[in-house]
């Protein structure tokens, strides 16, 4: 058998990448279900509205850019994104990852309760950032 095995060669381009293919098929199957895209955008819009409300209450002037599904927030007068980094650090400490200089990505897994919890934490983070700036 060793002699036979040494006499032939076998190879395959995607042998080590079958899991991503299955993951892609599973992802596409989920995405094809009704209302997935609208849900993702609705969650993004809910987050944007919550951020605007929280910012206004905290006295911040922020801008939100990008499609609702992949929004990004910037503080006014913060060209080097220092406040964004401080804000993101505060949010990360609360268990919410909001990238300081890249779009955020909503997903099908995000539900209204997740967004509302995030906005509540944003309100706390805004206050903490303000305290840091005032020092």
């Amino acid at each position: 058998m060793k002699k036979t095995a040494s006499g032939f060669f076998i190879t395959g381009t995607f042998w080590t990448s079958t899991v991503p293919y299955i993951a892609a098929l599973a992802s596409l199957n989920e995405m094809e279900k009704p209302d997935v895209v609208s849900h993702i955008n609705a969650m993004g819009l809910r987050l944007e509205d919550g951020l605007k409300s929280a910012a206004a209450d905290a006295g911040y002037n922020v801008s939100l850019t990008g499609p609702d599904a992949i929004p990004f927030m910037m503080f006014s007068d913060d060209p080097d994104l220092w406040q964004n980094q401080e804000f993101s650090a505060r949010m990360a400490a609360k268990g919410v990852y909001m990238h300081p200089h890249h779009n955020w990505f909503l997903s099908l897994a995000h539900k209204e309760a997740d967004i509302d919890e995030t906005v509540e934490k944003v309100r706390d983070a805004f206050g903490e950032v303000r305290e840091t700036l005032d020092k």
Binding site: P20, A23, E32, N41, P67, I70
Partner: protein, 68 residues
């Protein structure tokens, strides 16, 4: 998002220069349409790249040729 007419201008420039219009749709992917966010531009691309959310984080990439 690009201002209105931006994609049309890229298409026009590509056509006038004989270049391919290759759009990176990796960031937006399916956020704007199940058919790919590039399909909502109203402009035909020649090639499109997609990955990341395509496999929900597993490493995969797609270079897609768009035919008439």
């Amino acid at each position: 998002m690009p201002p209105a007419g931006w994609h049309e201008e890229v298409r026009r420039l590509c056509d006038s220069e004989g270049a391919l219009f290759i759009m990176d749709d990796i960031r937006a992917n399916f956020c704007l349409s199940i058919n790919g966010s590039h399909t909502v531009t109203g402009v035909r691309q020649d090639m499109v790249t997609m990955d990341k959310s395509l496999a929900s984080g597993y490493p995969i990439g797609v270079l897609r040729e768009v035919k008439d």
